[in-house]
């Protein structure tokens, strides 16, 4: 197994970003990423079956995020004092972020994951490998998801597009 520390250092930021984009709750994201790494550590002790660590970690982050969303779909996060007192972001910026997150949330999980991976700058081949969508269909699926998101954003916030 490739040095666990190396995998951890190389992939932590990417996993954090993906999970934030998927669920939007930064506090929960730390736990999710940690759980994924603990899982990898446990798995890596006995077997050497993971060929592409990066793809495995993307997938595991996706599944953990989905589990989190399923478990917490009845609860909505309250705005904390920290959120309120943060002066760096204007009210408008916060609203835009909220709208982007809402538009993302309106996509079905698989398409949302695809768009998130797209925003990470991955190639179609990489996206197909991670999401297990047929390579030939990536362009079509992505194009539809982006169109849906654009439509959603246009109705919510016409100035943005």
């Amino acid at each position: 197994m490739k040095s666990f520390e190396k995998i951890y250092e190389q992939n932590y930021p990417m996993m954090y970003r993906v999970a934030v984009k998927m669920i939007g709750d930064k506090d929960a994201v730390r736990d999710i990423v940690q759980e994924v790494f603990v899982c990898l550590y446990e798995k890596g002790k006995g077997t050497d079956e993971i060929n592409n660590y990066s793809a495995w970690l993307y997938k595991a982050t996706y599944f953990k995020s989905i589990d989190y969303l399923k478990a917490n779909k009845r609860f909505s996060k309250l705005e904390t004092i920290e959120d309120r007192t943060c002066q760096e972001e204007s009210y408008e910026q916060k609203e835009v972020k909220k709208m982007i997150q809402n538009a993302l949330n309106k996509l079905d999980p698989k398409n949302r994951f695809l768009v998130v991976l797209y925003s990470e700058g991955l190639s179609y081949k990489e996206m197909a490998e991670i999401t297990e969508i047929n390579f030939a269909s990536v362009g079509k699926t992505l194009s539809r998801a982006l169109k849906k998101m654009e439509k959603e954003l246009k109705t919510e916030y016409y100035e943005l597009f």
Partner: protein
């Protein structure tokens, strides 16, 4: 004029088209203003969405130390085993107590003490001022004299 669909343009915008496809698309959009505009809009849309989604993240926090992440787990002892160990320890303790208790009882050290009370009752004195001497001796006649009022 045969225009390309949005999917092909999306691929083109994302740099996923083959050389042949690129040539065909570029030749087409040079002639077709509508498709050229569409390509520009798609490019703008992609960049905009990417930018906005990335803005959701902000700064990535410092990575927690790897030692705090991976802690060696202590072996978990099942409740049945715990119970068995507890019962064994309790039984052993009971046996020890019984054994030593019995062995101490089997060799008692017996001391025979003799006492003798010497007193005179003075009827004119109150009870608290009456005098009494208590002699306690062992078998050999050694002992303490305890004076008591």
């Amino acid at each position: 004029m045969n225009c390309f669909n949005e999917e092909i343009f999306q691929k083109y915008v994302d740099g996923e088209c083959s050389e042949t496809e690129i040539d065909q698309i570029e030749a087409h959009i040079e002639k077709c203003v509508e498709c050229k505009t569409n390509v520009e809009l798609l490019r703008e849309r992609s960049e905009n969405i990417k930018k906005q989604i990335n803005a959701l993240v902000g700064d990535v926090p410092e990575m927690p130390g790897i030692s705090t992440l991976i802690k060696e787990k202590k072996p978990v002892i099942p409740i049945r085993k715990k119970l068995a160990y507890g019962m064994a320890a309790a039984s052993l303790f009971l046996l020890i107590v019984l054994f030593f208790g019995k062995s101490q009882q089997s060799q008692p050290e017996e001391t025979i003490l003799f006492y003798n009370i010497d007193y005179e009752i003075d009827a004119n004195k109150p009870l608290t001022e009456q005098e009494m001497v208590l002699y306690i001796t062992d078998e050999n006649g050694f002992g303490l004299n305890n004076d008591s009022n």
